[in-house]
Amino acid sequence: MAQIELSGIERVFKLGDSEVHALQELSVSIERGEYVAVMGPSGSGKSTLLNLLGLLDRPNAGTYRLEGRDVTTLSPDEQAEVRRTRIGFVFQSFHLVPRLTAAENIALPLMLAGIPPVERHTRVAQALQDFGLEPRAGHRPEELSGGQRQRVAIARATIMRPAVILADEPTGNLDRSTGQDVTHLLEELNASGVTLIVVTHDPVMGGRARRRLMMEDGRLLQDVREPAPA
């Protein structure tokens, strides 16, 4: 049984009279621990797919099974629970809470999960150490560089030890070398067994993934399993 199974997914946005088919007839399955890059031109439905996978959005048709469970029919609170415990998000624009320190931002998912402060503290301290953020623990996002911000965001996405990490253009706002650092960080997490799904425009980053989903007009155009020739 695959970790993620999408079958016959449709996502239609209505804009006045016109309809935008952001996703059409999409069926794909992803195994535990896979490293998948989602690629394609702008507007091809990559972000829509990722939001769906992260249970932030519901399909108009089709089924989504996560770890064998049909999650499209869950109640909003049950979906929130799945997001909290099984999924980690990394965004292009980091999405850190500006008034909270790096440590507090990392602790947010633990707080939402109701984990007691003592355990929270040790887990955040460990994460700060793992991601080399210890000297920045008390700094607010505006006092951090882009690379540091994204590392805080990745630390936050992994603090609940999720099964899947969804990253939408995680290096889109970073320069080449910090972008590479972030890519390496994500790949290390993948190496430890977490499923990694990355949306990217960068062919180099896409090329590093063992599997690429090529999207166009909301359809899956190609599903490439081997590393692309360099």
């Binding site: 939001n51 992260g54 932030l56 959005d57 909003p76 609170d77 929130a80 629970e81 799945v82 997001r83 909290r84 415990t85 998000f89 965004f91 624009s93 999405h95 809470v97 500006p98 008034r99 909270l100 507090e104 947010l108 998912p109 707080m111 939402l112 999960a113 109701g114 936050r156 609940m160």
Partner: protein, 402 residues
């Protein structure tokens, strides 16, 4: 999310936007402070008047001749078309009521007073020695009228301080003989300054024994009788006892009117109490306005923090988590406003007391509770709508907002 975390999160959110928070706390606190200060003013005025009345002498029942109550056309009314005189004997009889401690008859008339070529119009009050104690007057010189048989028409007089000033100037007054009407009376005392006491100014009166006054004005009728009850609680029962005594002396018919000071006071108390309530109501409106402000500020906060709400949802926050967080924030802001207002209001009341030392401007407890309570409820009620809006935001669209 535990309640403690919700509280901490909301506190960080409130302190994270200091200007916004300060303005809202200010608006809320002005409302609460207005309630506290205005009710302190109203209640201070009420207490001032009550105190002034109490200064007239405490626990008094006043007996007047004639029945002013609206009796029907009964047989009794037909027989006694004119009321019988209220006499000194009646007054003495009243003293037999067990709940009565002191009594002073009053006989009043206008006359002239002369000394050493100076002549003045003056109001003459015939009364007893207890009058000075009932009214709690202080003597400036000499002593008040002697406590003796009310039938004795001693040729003595006690002067009000202003009258003494006008007649004698810097000369000594006690021991001098003055002429009042056609009688020569010895001045035995001068009252201390009493100020204005409801209508007639005591400082301009001449006090003489009641029998002297009655002889002077050739009457047996008393103007009224002032009776002092044992305590405030005893006023009602004492009045009953006095009525019984008077009825007994009038063959079962009550042809006098008894007024308790309480009734007069009660009226003033009610009027000023109502005034205080009205003022509190007006101040409460400013609180409602502050509540609407809370709502708008929170709506702006939801818009400002749309991306944050989207993020929290992506991190697994439930709608309830977000609703509670924003509601707690609104409650915290109103709480801070309420207590700042409470402090400001007490400061204002303190200022009032400093500026008007005669005014006991303390805010009543009910007003303080009502003020703080209204602030909290409006703040929370008006916080519900923004909180629900936040909880209902679509996470994808919220996240795409920057």
């Amino acid at each position: 999310m535990t309640p403690a975390d919700t509280l901490r999160f909301a506190t960080r959110a409130a302190t994270g936007y200091p200007l916004r928070t300060a303005l809202m706390v200010l608006a809320m606190s002005i409302g609460v402070a207005a309630v506290v200060v205005l009710t302190a003013l109203g209640d201070g005025a009420r207490r001032y008047v009550v105190n002034e009345f109490s200064a007239l002498g405490s626990n008094l029942v006043i007996v007047l001749p004639g029945r002013t109550a609206t009796g029907g056309l009964g047989l009794g009314n037909l027989i006694t078309s004119t009321p019988r005189d209220l006499t000194v004997r009646d007054a003495e009889a009243l003293l037999r009521a067990p709940l009565v401690t002191r009594m002073a008859p009053l006989s009043v008339g206008n006359s002239e007073i002369a000394w050493g070529g100076r002549l003045r119009e003056a109001m003459v009050v015939g009364t007893s020695g207890d009058y000075v104690d009932i009214r709690a007057f202080r003597m400036a010189e000499g002593s008040f009228l002697p406590r003796e048989d009310l039938g004795r028409a001693a040729a003595v007089a006690v002067l009000g301080t202003k009258l003494r000033e006008e007649l004698f100037g810097s000369d000594p007054a006690v021991g001098r003989m003055v002429r009042v009407g056609d009688r020569r009376l010895r001045v035995i005392g001068v009252l201390g300054k009493t100020g204005q006491g409801l209508g007639m100014n005591t400082d301009e009166l001449v006090f003489v024994p009641v029998a002297t006054a009655q002889a002077m004005f050739n009457t047996n009728n008393l103007f009224r009788i002032i009776v002092e009850a044992r305590s405030r609680e005893a006023i009602g029962p004492a009045k009953q006892q006095l009525e019984d005594i008077m009825r007994l002396r009038r063959e079962g018919e009550l042809d006098v009117t008894l007024i308790t000071q309480d009734a007069v006071l009660g009226t003033f108390d009610r009027i000023l109490g109502a005034l205080t309530m009205a003022v509190a109501g007006i101040a409460a409106i400013s609180l409602a306005v502050a509540g609407i402000l809370v709502m708008n500020v929170m709506l702006v906060a939801v818009t400002q923090r749309t991306a944050e709400i989207g993020l929290l949802k992506a991190l697994g926050a439930t709608g309830r988590n977000i609703r509670l967080a924003f509601l707690t924030e609104a409650a915290l802001l109103s709480l801070a406003g309420a207590f700042t207002g409470f402090a400001l209001g007490h400061l204002g009341a303190w200022g009032l007391r400093l500026a008007f030392p005669v005014l006991p401007a303390w805010p009543p407890d009910w007003a303080v509770f009502a003020g703080i309570g209204t602030a909290l409820t409006t703040g929370i009620l008006f916080g519900v709508m923004p909180a629900r809006r936040a909880a209902r935001l679509d996470p994808v669209q919220a996240l795409s907002r920057r």
